[in-house]
């Protein structure tokens, strides 16, 4: 039990409850179940892509290209839908995942084979993919009436009263919980991030792991691309611009160490949820729109500092405990 309290996830959870409580004092409607469903809908895509970002950051990498690859795969399937409305929705979904996997694997190859540091690789592909979106759509948009009803309606179509958007994100969370905790490759991802030399000694293939995380991350991003354009019923060349920073922020708030080796799915999901609540709360309690960005920045900084300070305190406590045992 005491371990539970010491966990970052737990303190983040408490922090979230605190904010929810504070906001609901001012705006009781914040507590309505509908509002939470909306927040879930809003954070579904963020938490999915943040999980992709998580597995990359855990290996000590970073992916700045998620916003661009999301836009590229989203634009591709939107155009596909516009010109071939007959293609069934599940094929569209598969294609969006496939495009994402392709874009991710390009990153993965550049990082693992060409040995370009992840931050540079994805800085480059970020511009390349974003530019390709523009080339692909020739500057024009795909808008609501150019999409088929099933395409547009997919994220909202509900099953057991919950939208498929949320279902998909739950599915991704579960799949990746299993992958990260119950598969060898999943654990090796943590191994690589924790200690590269040690993981070499136990025979983990670093290149393979790097390739896998970027590719998988790309796959999620690709799927998110479809969900994004379908949900907002618009594919534009500016789609998801700056989204990479949001996913990184969700990870950092969720307690993922930017240096690699640590970070949990639950933490990231909470981190995304936290961002969603902050966004939602800021609009609900009528904070001036001009304050939003400053408050977000402040909260990110605050969360990071608290995380670090708590971590250091825990380590001190651990040391103290050990010295008393003697």
């Amino acid at each position: 039990m005491r371990d539970l309290f010491r966990k970052r996830e737990f303190s983040l959870f408490i922090f979230i409850l605190f904010i929810v409580f504070g906001v609901s004092l001012r705006t009781p409607s914040f507590l309505y179940i509908n509002n939470f469903v909306d927040i879930l809908n809003d954070t579904a895509i963020l938490s999915m892509v943040a999980i992709g970002q998580l597995i990359i950051i855990v290996t000590g990498g970073i992916d700045l290209s998620v916003g661009s690859s999301l836009a590229l795969s989203g634009m591709s399937v939107a155009l596909l839908n516009q010109y071939h409305p007959g293609i069934p929705i599940f094929v569209i979904i598969l294609i969006s995942i496939a495009i994402g996997l392709l874009l991710g694997s390009i990153n993965g190859l550049l990082v693992s084979r060409a040995k370009i540091p992840p931050i540079i690789t994805t800085l480059g592909t970020m511009s390349i993919y974003r530019g390709l979106v523009f080339v692909l759509c020739k500057g024009s948009w795909v808008s609501a009436h150019e999409m088929t009803e099933t395409f547009r309606g997919f994220p909202r179509s509900s099953f057991l009263g919950i939208s498929s958007l949320i279902w998909i994100s739950i599915l991704i969370v579960i799949l990746f919980l299993i992958f990260l905790n119950l598969s060898r490759t999943g654990r090796e991802i943590y191994g690589v991030g924790g200690n590269k030399i040690a993981s070499q000694y136990v025979g983990i293939n670093l290149k393979k792991i790097q390739y896998i995380v970027f590719t998988l991350g790309g796959g999620i991003t690709g799927l998110a691309g479809f969900l994004w354009v379908a949900r907002y019923a618009a594919a534009q060349s500016e789609t998801a611009i700056g989204f990479e920073f949001q996913t990184i922020a969700a990870c950092v708030i969720g307690g993922v160490s930017i240096a690699g080796g640590t970070g949990t799915i639950i933490g990231v999901v909470l981190g995304s949820f936290f961002m969603g609540i902050v966004y939602n709360a800021l609009t609900m309690i009528n904070v001036s729109p001009f304050w939003q960005m400053a408050i977000q920045g402040f909260i990110i900084l605050f969360a990071i500092i608290i995380n670090t300070v708590m971590d250091k305190r825990n380590q001190q406590l651990m040391l103290r405990k050990r010295s008393f045992n003697e």
Partner: protein, 331 residues
């Protein structure tokens, strides 16, 4: 390969990298002048420097930041923040001299805040500046809202629009070249530079050797803020107005420039010549592409490709070299 050859290997690599960059630069000039008759025109070339010198001025301290093994993605937001403070002061009737002081001070203060949080709490720079990126620009939005500051004293316009005497050489360009010389001397010829390289290569050993690692990093972040403030003065002066969204997206362009200049993102390696050449490569490349009216979004593809290809190039060369029989012992 024997020891004798490896002796000068590091300068060798840098030398090679500069050769590559210089070569790319020449290619850019040749191709551009073939594609457009307007490229090789003294006035045009001078005037186009206005468009990248402000970024270049931040690229100089950014080079120090990255050599130290850190990164600062809040620089563009610092530009917005300083510009807003200058705008406020200008509305209140502060003169040109005062505005410059305020711009520099606001930039340094923001940079100091970054450095302070990074060194005090030991948080990776990328995480801190990710937060401060929103915070600084956010403050600019808070102050400005949907307004813009447009009233600046007339002499203030000189910084971003003026030329040196009757020549067509922009004041900005001269200022940048002077700063490049100063930063180059600091990096390669002074104890500060030596310390920066030591920190970037191995911050633990540097600390054990009595180098005040955190103080040096704090100073570098503050100087980065200072230079962002300076860039803000030039930009504000050049466009004569302040909006909270100015310079958006510059942080990544600046980092791209520095990395293309051969500064290792993992720290410890870099050279002023590489960065200066890289600044002009990207600047002239964009200008040349602009002359044949390639859309900006297509330019980003080319710059992205250039970045990746250029970074891959030394490895490709390495791979083509006959394999020596020695393994690697690197940790």
């Amino acid at each position: 390969m024997n020891k004798e050859n490896r002796k000068i290997s590091l300068p060798n690599i840098i030398w090679q990298w500069e050769i590559i960059l210089l070569f790319i630069f020449i290619m850019v000039v040749i191709i551009n002048s073939n594609l457009s008759p307007y490229f090789l025109d003294y006035t045009n070339l001078m005037n186009t420097t206005f468009n990248f010198i402000e970024k270049a001025i931040i690229a100089l301290p950014m080079m120090f930041v990255i050599i130290c093994g850190d990164i600062d993605i809040s620089v563009a937001s610092i530009i917005a923040l300083s510009s807003v403070f200058m705008g406020m002061a200008s509305q209140a009737g502060v003169n040109t001299f005062g505005l410059v002081a305020i711009g520099l001070f606001a930039g340094s203060a923001a940079g100091f805040l970054n450095g302070f949080v990074i060194t005090k709490f030991g948080i990776p720079a990328i995480a801190v500046t990710l937060g401060s990126m929103s915070l600084f620009r956010g403050i600019a939005y808070v102050i400005l809202g949907d307004k813009a500051f447009t009233k600046y004293p007339i002499p203030f316009a000189y910084f971003g629009q003026g030329y040196i005497g009757n020549t067509m050489i922009p004041f900005e360009l001269v200022l940048f070249l002077m700063l490049a010389i100063i930063f180059g001397i600091i990096l390669h010829r002074t104890t500060i530079g030596r310390k920066v390289f030591a920190i970037g290569n191995n911050s633990t050993a540097a600390r054990f050797s009595g180098i005040p690692v955190n103080r040096v990093r704090l100073i570098i972040f503050t100087v980065t803020g200072l230079c962002s403030g300076l860039a803000s003065i030039l930009l504000t002066s050049r466009i004569g107005s302040t909006r909270p969204n100015i310079a958006s997206g510059w942080e990544l362009e600046i980092i791209t420039t520095v990395v293309l200049g051969g500064v290792a993102i993992t720290g410890g390696k870099g050279n002023i010549f590489g960065v200066v050449i890289s600044i002009f490569i990207i600047g002239f490349l964009k200008f040349g592409m602009g002359l044949i009216n390639i859309p900006g979004k297509v330019m980003t593809i080319i710059i992205g490709l250039l970045l990746i290809l250029a970074i891959m190039l030394p490895q490709l060369i390495e791979r083509l070299k006959p394999k020596n029989s020695f393994g690697k012992v690197k940790k």
